[in-house]
Amino acid sequence: MKAREHILGKIQRALEVDPSHDAARRRAVAERLQRHGRHTVPARGQLPDEERIALFRRMLEAVAGTTGRVTSRAEVPTALAAHLEARGLPLRLRRGSDPRLEEMPWERAGALEVATGPAEDGDTAGLVYAFAGIAETGTSVAVSGADNPTTLSFLPEEAIILVDADTIAGDMETVLSALRTRYGTALPRTVNFITGPSRSADIEQTLLLGAHGPRALHVLIVG
C-alpha cells in the first residue's frame, strides 16, 4: 500500500496537483471512462454487407488465413469434415459447449470425431464460435468460457473459427460496443482478436507459420 501512495504522490507532485482540490481532473477522467468516445474509425471497413464480408475474407487471406462460407449452421459439420480431409488432417476436432455448436447435426459429418472441453496436448483441430468478426483487418473475436474455451484457439495444430456473417463488423469499435452491450464493463476473462495463423520472423526476419500457436487458421463464415 505504501508503494502505491508513494508512486501516486510522486505523480501528483510532478503534475502539480493538489489532491484536495482536484474535482475538475476527476470529472474529466470519470467522464472519459463513462463516455468511451471513438476516435477516427478508418473508412476501409464501412461497406455494404456483402462487400464487407468480402473485405474480411480478403484481409484474412492476405495474412495466410483461409476462409470458407456456408449458408446455414446445419451445413457446418460436413463443411468441416471436408476441410479437414482436404488438409490431410485426422477427422477429429475439439469444441466447447456453445449451444450453437451443440445443436449442429454432427451425425451428418460421417467419420468426424467431435470431442468437447478445453484443448489437450495432441489435439489436431480446435473449433470455436466467434463473438464477432472485423472486416477492416480480417480479425475474428473470440471470448473465453465453457462455450468456447480459449485454449482451443492456441494449442491444436489447426484453429477453426466460425463467424456468423451478420456479426462481421466494419471496424474494431463496433465490436467493442457489442462487447460492452453484452457484458457491461465485466469483460470475460479473455477476449482474443485473432488475425491469421501463428507466425514468427525471429530467425533472420524469415516469416514462418506455426510458431507456438496453430500452423493454420480456417475461418468458416456462416450465413
Binding site: V29, T40, G96, F154, L176, T190, N192, A201, L208
Partner: protein
C-alpha cells in the same frame, strides 16, 4: 542487466568489426522499413491516427494518478490484484512473492522489455525458480545467455547458422545428425521443446502493451501466440507492466493498436491481440485461477513534469530504431542497456542516469527519421539535444569534447573569423578529395574514416557561394 552504456564507443568499434553482426543488421534495413511504409500508405487515416494516439497518451499522462487508481479498482472488481513497485528490486521481489505463494517451480514468460529492465530471469533463477522464455527470439537469447538487441525482434543480431550451433549445443537429447539447415526446422525444434514447458509451468508471466482503466484489462500483442499459451495454461497469470502503459478506454486502446502494429512490423493487426481481465470465471474450463498485475515505476514518475514526460508516450513499436542509421550500423547491444536506438538514447539516461548513458544521446546524426516515423510523435532528436545540454551543463563530457565545443562556440560568436576558417577548410578538404571527391583518411577523424569515406565538401562554402551569386 549490467549497464555498459559508458563503453558505447568501444562497443560500437567492436560492432563495426563484427562481420556476423553486420550481415544480420542488413535484415533490418530491408525488412521493417519497407513494410511500415506500405502499411502506412495503405491507410489514408494513418497520420490522423498518429495525432490521436499522441493525444490519448498526453491526456493519460496528465491524469496518470487517476487512471492508475481507476485501473486498480477495475482489476480488483474482476478478482485480480495489483501491486505497485517503486524500484526494479521491488518489482522482481513482488513477482517472486506471488510465485512462492503459489509454490511455483517453473515460470513461462512471454517477451517483456520491462522484465528485462527489472532483471527478472536472473533473480528468479537465483531464488530457485526456473524461468523459460517462450518467444522464439527470446528463447534463442536465453540459451545463449544474451540480452535482446531490439525491442520487438530480440534476436535480430543473429544469423541462422549461429542459432543452429546453439540448438545443437543445448538440445543434446536430440540426434546429432538431424537436419537444421532451414529456419523452419529450427522453429519446429523450439516449438516441440517449448510445448512441454507451456504445459507444465506453474506460473505464466507476460508484459502488457496497454492496460485499460475502464475494464481492468491487460492488452497483450504477439504474433507467435506464445503469450496466450503462457497466460492460459498455468494456474497463475502475472502481468508485469510499467505505469505509463495505462490508457483510459477500450476505444483508446483500439486507436493505439492501429498505429502500433503498422509502425512495428507493417502488419495491419498483429496475429494475436488479447485482452486479459482477471482470473477465470466460475464455470470456465481453462484460463488462470489467479491474476496479478505488478505495476513498475522504476524512475518513470520522475520523468513526469519534465522535458522527458513526452518519452512516456512511447508504445515500444521499434520504428525509431528500424529507421535509425546509427542503429543500422552498430546494432542494439552497443547501446549497453535494455532499450536501444533513439528511444533508448532518450529513455536510458532517464532511467539509469545521464552520467552513465551520456554517450547515447550523442550517438545520433539528428537526421530526424526516428521522429518522422514515431507513431506517437515523440520529438526524439529534441529530447536527445536536451540530454546533450544537460550533460554539458553538468560537466560530464571528456575534456577534448568540451575544449572542442568551447573553440567552436568562440568562433561561432565571431562570424568573420568563422567564415574565413570554414572557407579555408572547405577548400583544403575539396583539394584533398581530388577527382574522387572522397577522403579515405583524415587527421582527428580516424574514427569516421576507418569504416567509410568522407565525401569531400564543395570547394566554396554556401555563404561564399551565395555572396558570389548575388554579386553576379
Amino acid at each position: 542487466m549490467d549497464v555498459t552504456s559508458p563503453a558505447f564507443k568501444e562497443n560500437a568499434a567492436r560492432a563495426l568489426d563484427d562481420a556476423q553482426l553486420q550481415r544480420a543488421l542488413g535484415n533490418i534495413r530491408h525488412g521493417f522499413v519497407e513494410k511500415r511504409r506500405v502499411a502506412a500508405d495503405a491507410l489514408p487515416e494513418f497520420e490522423q491516427l498518429r495525432d490521436e494516439a499522441k493525444a490519448i497518451k498526453d491526456h493519460t499522462l496528465a491524469h496518470l494518478d487517476l487512471y492508475l487508481e481507476a485501473f486498480c479498482e477495475t482489476v480488483e472488481a474482476r478478482g485480480g490484484t495489483v501491486t505497485f513497485a517503486e524500484t526494479a528490486y521491488d518489482a522482481r521481489r513482488a513477482v517472486l512473492d506471488i510465485c512462492r505463494e503459489h509454490e511455483a517451480k517453473t515460470v513461462t514468460k512471454a517477451k517483456s522489455m520491462v522484465s528485462e529492465e527489472i532483471e527478472l530471469n536472473r533473480y528468479l533463477k537465483k531464488k530457485g525458480i526456473a524461468p523459460v522464455e517462450t518467444d522464439l527470439g527470446e528463447y534463442i537469447l536465453q540459451i545463449r545467455d544474451e540480452a535482446p538487441s531490439h525491442i520487438i525482434a530480440p534476436a535480430i543480431h543473429l544469423n541462422r547458422d549461429q542459432i543452429e550451433a546453439d540448438f545443437r549445443r543445448v538440445h543434446t537429447h536430440l540426434p546429432n545428425e538431424r537436419d537444421l539447415a532451414e529456419p523452419a526446422t529450427l522453429l519446429g525444434e523450439a516449438r516441440t521443446i517449448l510445448r512441454q514447458k507451456f504445459l507444465t509451468a506453474d506460473v505464466g508471466v507476460t508484459g502488457a502493451n496497454f492496460l485499460v482503466a475502464e475494464t481492468g484489462s491487460a492488452v497483450i500483442v504477439t504474433n507467435e501466440g506464445n503469450a496466450d499459451l503462457t497466460q492460459s495454461l498455468p494456474k497463475v497469470h502475472i502481468v508485469v507492466a510499467s505505469i505509463e502503459k495505462v490508457v483510459p478506454t477500450l476505444e483508446d486502446a483500439a486507436t493505439l493498436l492501429r498505429v502500433l502494429a503498422r509502425s512495428a512490423t507493417g502488419q495491419d493487426m498483429s496475429v494475436y491481440t488479447t485482452m486479459a481481465t482477471g482470473p477465470r470465471r466460475e464455470g470456465d474450463p481453462d484460463g488462470p485461477e489467479a491474476f496479478h498485475v505488478v505495476l513498475v515505476d522504476n524512475g518513470r514518475s520522475g520523468m513526469i513534469g519534465t522535458d522527458f514526460q513526452e518519452m512516456l508516450r512511447c508504445i515500444r513499436c521499434g520504428a525509431c530504431m528500424n529507421h535509425c542509421p546509427v542503429y543500422h550500423a552498430v546494432g542494439g547491444h552497443t547501446y549497453g542497456w535494455v532499450y536501444p536506438g533513439p528511444m533508448g538514447s532518450v529513455l536510458t539516461p532517464s532511467l539509469v542516469g545521464v552520467d552513465q548513458a551520456g554517450q547515447l544521446p550523442n550517438a545520433s546524426t539528428f537526421c530526424g527519421r526516428c521522429e518522422s516515423v514515431c507513431p506517437v510523435r515523440i520529438p526524439l532528436p529534441k529530447l536527445m539535444r536536451h540530454w546533450r545540454e544537460d550533460e554539458f551543463a553538468r560537466h560530464l563530457q571528456p575534456r577534448a569534447a568540451r575544449t572542442g565545443l568551447g573553440a567552436w562556440a568562440f568562433l561561432a560568436r565571431r562570424p568573420r573569423a568563422y567564415r574565413m576558417l570554414t572557407g579555408l577548410a572547405a577548400r583544403a578538404l575539396s583539394l584533398a578529395g581530388g577527382t574522387k571527391g572522397r577522403l579515405s583518411s583524415l587527421p582527428l577523424a580516424g574514427g569516421w574514416t576507418k569504416h567509410r569515406d568522407l565525401p569531400a565538401p564543395a570547394p566554396r562554402t554556401f555563404m561564399a557561394d551565395w555572396k558570389a551569386r548575388r554579386g553576379a
